[in-house]
């Protein structure tokens, strides 16, 4: 509710509200961006572009109920565009970087103490072998706690496709379970 009030203030052109929104969702957006690409510059630029555009288009933004989901989706678009464009420069001989290549690393699981080195490596290996959409859906669902509807909005696929992607991802993790 508080966020919605803040959002409405922003829609009316309140720059302070914009700054608060920016800072509120910074962690969420930044870490999501860093999962899409390792290039911090791309993430930072996309974040700036996204909020700048948001500010310029604020008059056409009525009716957004899920602010966090909307912002993640918008950022995803900007990063996609930036990466896509960057890839245009890549010589054809070197295949372009995989988009949405959410990649997991040891750092992601360091906090999980009961995971020994071997299990952790196995998990990372399995996660990174999933398809892009499976990986992204799993990431949004379990790492970020979005519900199916949010994920469907963010990834712009149906709720059923989200469920399927997550389900397949979970099945692939079968050998991880005790």
């Amino acid at each position: 509710m508080e966020q919605q009030i803040l959002w409405n203030r922003f829609l009316k052109g309140d720059k302070e509200a914009l700054e608060l929104i920016f800072r509120t969702y910074f962690d969420e957006l930044y870490s999501f961006g860093l999962k899409m690409t390792h290039n911090t510059e791309t993430v930072e630029d996309s974040l700036q572009d996204m909020f700048f555009k948001l500010w310029k288009n604020r008059n056409n933004l009525n009716g957004i109920s899920n602010i966090k989901g909307y912002l993640v989706k918008a950022l995803r678009h900007h990063i996609y565009d930036n990466l896509n464009w960057r890839n245009r420069f890549v010589n054809c001989e070197t295949p372009p970087e995989n988009l949405f290549d959410i990649e997991f690393s040891h750092e992601d699981f360091l906090i999980t103490e009961q995971l020994n080195q071997e299990t952790r490596e196995k998990l990372i290996h399995i996660l990174n072998k999933l398809t892009n959409s499976q990986r992204e859906a799993i990431y949004l669902r379990f790492f970020r706690g979005y519900d199916f509807k949010d994920i469907s909005d963010i990834m712009e696929i149906s709720v059923q496709s989200v469920r399927n992607a997550i389900h397949r991802g979970l099945l692939a993790m079968r050998e991880m379970t005790p």
């Binding site: 720059k15 914009l18 700054e19 920016f22 800072r23 910074f26 962690d27 930044y30 870490s31 860093l34 930072e44 974040l47 700036q48 909020f51 700048f52 500010w55 310029k56 464009w85 245009r88 420069f89 054809c92 001989e93 750092e107 992601d108 699981f109 360091l110 906090i111 999980t112 995971l115 998990l123 799993i138 379990f142 790492f143 706690g145 519900d147 199916f148 469920r163 997550i166 389900h167 979970l170 099945l171 993790m173 079968r174 991880m176 379970t177 005790p178």
Partner: protein
């Protein structure tokens, strides 16, 4: 009420770990069920065992998947980034306000610009786009290479081999102007009340927001404009007016035949093999030709596809020389008129392309460093 509350016991027990984790409130569910089993105590039957096992699996996976490292940034960092955003918004607003400068200031600015323009007049091209649009940038793409860039207004430009693009470093909301020598594909951003104009040596192409390809090599006899999306307006050079303005729509191509002059602009970025242009086409009249085309064949170069669409070997030789940075000479004139259609999608090498041509017509070719010679195959006696 939670899902676990409304589910029948039998249905619940048939859930495997993956189905459990798909429940909207899987965390509560696992907790409730586990404490439920614990409460029942010694009830040891097979079903409960396997149910407990699935719950354990689900609990384990959910734990390792949710207890990852959460990134938290310091307030300082957030403030810093937010500051960058606010500064950008402020700068944007300022540049808009410039249009509302007091009259006197505007006149002063006008005089300044006039001075700048008269200095720039020494180079006619620069004159065209200088003034209030900031310093000009120049992109030169040698043969054998291609390049892409985004202009300040968001317009995307792919620049083909052996081409030159002059563009302003920034646009101030006025009309956008660029100069092209060679070939480029434009994906123009729509900006309200701001035309985008491409100046070539002979014609100018005006658009409002569209995708199109312009091919205007100084050494070519034609200037080709092809519209992929939207509409463009093509006008002749203001001093010459050899044809009246043309509106070109989606999927249309206009070919403009330049009048042949022996000494063309000496400012060339790269030499096209002389042999090819030496034998000039006999057409000395200027004419325009508008036709429907498959735009994919025209713009494929930006995706690194080499396509020959019923083109003569002479035309192909020019294409290859730009594409592969080689000097292609056709020794036997009768070969020049042979037409070929083909598509090379895998970054084929020069040899592979020549070999493909060889497959359909008996030609002999020799590649010597950067020069290629194509001749008719001598009949075996």
């Amino acid at each position: 009420m939670t899902i676990s509350g409304i589910m029948k016991k039998r249905d619940k027990a048939s859930l495997t770990y993956d189905k459990i984790l798909l429940l909207p409130d899987y965390m509560n569910f696992i907790q409730n069920e586990q404490s439920g089993i614990d409460a029942c105590g010694n009830n040891k039957d097979e079903n409960t065992d396997s149910w407990r096992h699935e719950l354990e699996k689900a609990a384990f996976l959910s734990q390792i998947l949710t207890s990852h490292k959460k990134i938290k940034y310091s307030d300082d960092i957030k403030k810093q980034h937010a500051g960058r955003l606010l500064a950008r918004i402020k700068a944007d607003k300022k540049s808009k306000q410039n249009n509302n400068l007091p009259l006197l200031l505007r006149i002063a600015a006008g005089v300044l610009i006039l001075v700048a323009l008269s200095v720039a007049l020494f180079r006619r091209e620069i004159f065209m786009i200088a003034g209030r649009q900031g310093p000009n940038m120049e992109l030169i793409v040698p043969s054998g290479e291609k390049s892409q860039l985004i202009l300040a207004d968001g317009t995307k430009v792919w620049v083909n081999s052996e081409s030159r693009l002059v563009y302003p470093a920034g646009f101030d909301g006025q009309d956008r102007k660029v100069i092209l020598e060679g070939e480029a594909y434009f994906d123009v951003s729509k900006v309200k009340n701001s035309k985008f104009t491409v100046y070539t040596q002979d014609v100018k192409v005006e658009v409002l927001g569209t995708k199109f390809n312009v091919k205007s090599y100084p050494k070519d006899h034609t200037i080709e404009t092809t519209v992929v999306e939207g509409m463009v307006r093509i006008e002749d050079d203001e001093d010459k007016v050899r044809f009246s303005p043309v509106l070109l729509k989606t999927d249309e191509r206009m070919i403009f035949r330049k009048e042949y002059t022996e000494h063309q602009d000496s400012e060339k970025i790269n030499e096209v093999p002389e042999k090819i242009t030496e034998k000039d086409v006999p057409v000395k009249v200027k004419e325009i030709l508008i036709s429907q085309v498959n735009t994919e064949n025209v713009t494929c170069w930006k995706d690194h596809l080499l396509i020959f669409d019923n083109e003569t070997l002479e035309e192909i030789a020019i294409k290859m020389s730009r594409w592969y940075k080689v000097d292609v000479k056709i020794v036997d004139d009768d070969l020049k008129a042979h037409r070929y259609t083909g598509k090379f999608v895998n970054n084929e090498t020069l040899d592979q392309v020549l070999e493909a041509i060889n497959l359909t017509t008996a030609i002999q070719y020799s590649v010597n460093q950067n020069s290629v010679q194509i001749r008719s195959e001598k009949k075996k006696l």
